[in-house]
């Protein structure tokens, strides 16, 4: 019982924007450095070490951006919906801010996935776009992100904006399993999953390593950018509180 109390104490301690703001500031450089390291390693393996593909030649190398961005677009949505859901049930301000901070990065990942997919599809399949289940559901995911951002921006009262956004985000979660399983449920032009949890990966080892390193890079990048954004949101929303006024006054003082 005491340990759970202790845990919830820690949770509520860092759920306060005033304590999370400096913590996030300390975490950002770590994730930026990690993103750069993983990115360099991943690109190096992907572009120089990994062998060419027996069918697609060099063209398959877009996979090192396409697959990680697709994974991230789905994963970020789940995390965003989770934070929005926590904000809705527990009324913790910071959770809703986290959801708001994640949305643009998620939208970027979905857009990147769609664009690299089109660039890959044209030379390999012979078309930029088909309305198959995988491509269409990923496009819907992109629209969900845009809808979430637009809905939040259109409501002036941040509390009500959070609530409306949270409901949209939670409803949209239905789309995630549809994207993931679309290639097994229906006939699609899109090929099956590159990496599956149930069977051994069908791709060459070095290719897989390149892809996983790039995925880690995208993770670190997303965390870093979300933290930077959440700090800006905290300052904006808490600008009337004492601690932000003191912080800004102190910065002004230091600058002068």
């Amino acid at each position: 019982m005491t340990t759970t109390n202790r845990l919830s104490q820690i949770f509520y301690h860092y759920a306060s924007p005033a304590t999370f703001y400096p913590l996030a500031g300390k975490m950002i450089p770590v994730f930026v450095v990690l993103a750069a390291l993983f990115g360099i390693a991943g690109l190096w393996i992907g572009l120089f070490v990994a062998p060419t593909d027996f069918q697609q030649g060099e063209g398959y190398r877009i996979i090192f951006v396409h697959v990680p961005s697709s994974w991230m677009s789905m994963f970020i949505y789940c995390v965003m919906a989770l934070w929005a859901g926590i904000g809705l049930t527990m009324n913790t301000r910071l959770s809703s801010m986290m959801a708001q901070a994640l949305a643009p990065t998620g939208a970027l990942m979905a857009a990147l996935s769609l664009i690299t997919g089109a660039l890959w599809g044209k030379p390999m399949w012979g078309t930029w776009w088909v309305w198959d289940a995988r491509l269409t559901s990923e496009l819907i995911l992109f629209f969900l992100y845009i809808g979430f951002i637009a809905l939040q921006a259109s409501i002036d009262d941040p509390r009500r904006a959070d609530k409306a956004g949270a409901i949209l985000a939670l409803v949209g979660v239905v789309n995630i399993p549809i994207i993931y399983f679309s290639v097994t449920w229906w006939n699609t032009l899109h090929q099956g999953a590159s990496v599956s949890l149930t069977k051994a990966p069908a791709m060459a080892q070095t290719m897989l390593w390149g892809m996983l390193l790039m995925a880690l890079c995208f993770w670190m990048y997303s965390i870093a950018v979300a933290l930077i954004r959440v700090r800006a949101i905290i300052l904006e929303r808490e600008r009337h509180t004492e601690w932000v006024k003191q912080l800004l006054a102190g910065e002004k003082h230091a600058g002068a």
Partner: protein, 152 residues
């Protein structure tokens, strides 16, 4: 029950009902979501008449024939076959024994006149040497002519 427990229960309940609703919608739309039908479904008369549709399958080994600008080939799912004619540029990955999706209409003689041919590849990415090794092993094991690569 605290209000936040109530809210949590409400949200979980709503999510479950949305999932169930989505499942029913997707089941109802099932055949409409599929990008293509298979040659077996064509043989069973499931293809629309006088309307463009797509067939997906594998290009039969040794079936590709070029007559001037028109390419003739057979698309198969190993059970049934559909002859296809197409005039135009084929994608680079189009090849015998590989997956393809063709869009077009069936003519009166049962020839599928395609207006678009797309190549379908699978999720097996490997270096050329690995593919050679697999080919060698298969031709040694089962004799020549085993079709490898894309499943339909």
């Amino acid at each position: 029950m605290k209000p936040r427990h109530k809210r949590a229960a409400l949200i979980v309940g709503a999510l479950i009902s949305i999932c169930v609703a989505a499942m029913f919608v997707l089941r109802a739309l099932d055949s409409n979501i599929a990008l293509y039908i298979t040659p077996t479904e064509v043989a069973a008369g499931k293809a629309p008449v006088d309307k463009a549709f797509r067939i997906g399958g594998m290009v039969k080994m040794g079936s590709v024939e070029r007559k001037e600008l028109t390419v003739h080939f057979i698309i198969t799912d190993t059970a049934k076959e559909v002859p296809v004619a197409y005039t135009g540029i084929l994608p680079d990955l189009f090849n015998e024994g590989k997956g393809a999706v063709v869009q077009g209409k069936m003519d009166a003689k049962g020839l599928f006149v395609a207006s678009e041919v797309l190549a379908k590849h699978d999720e097996n990415y490997m270096p050329p040497e690995a593919q050679h090794a697999i080919d060698k092993a298969q031709s040694a094991g089962t004799g020549a002519g085993t079709e490898t690569g894309a499943k339909p």
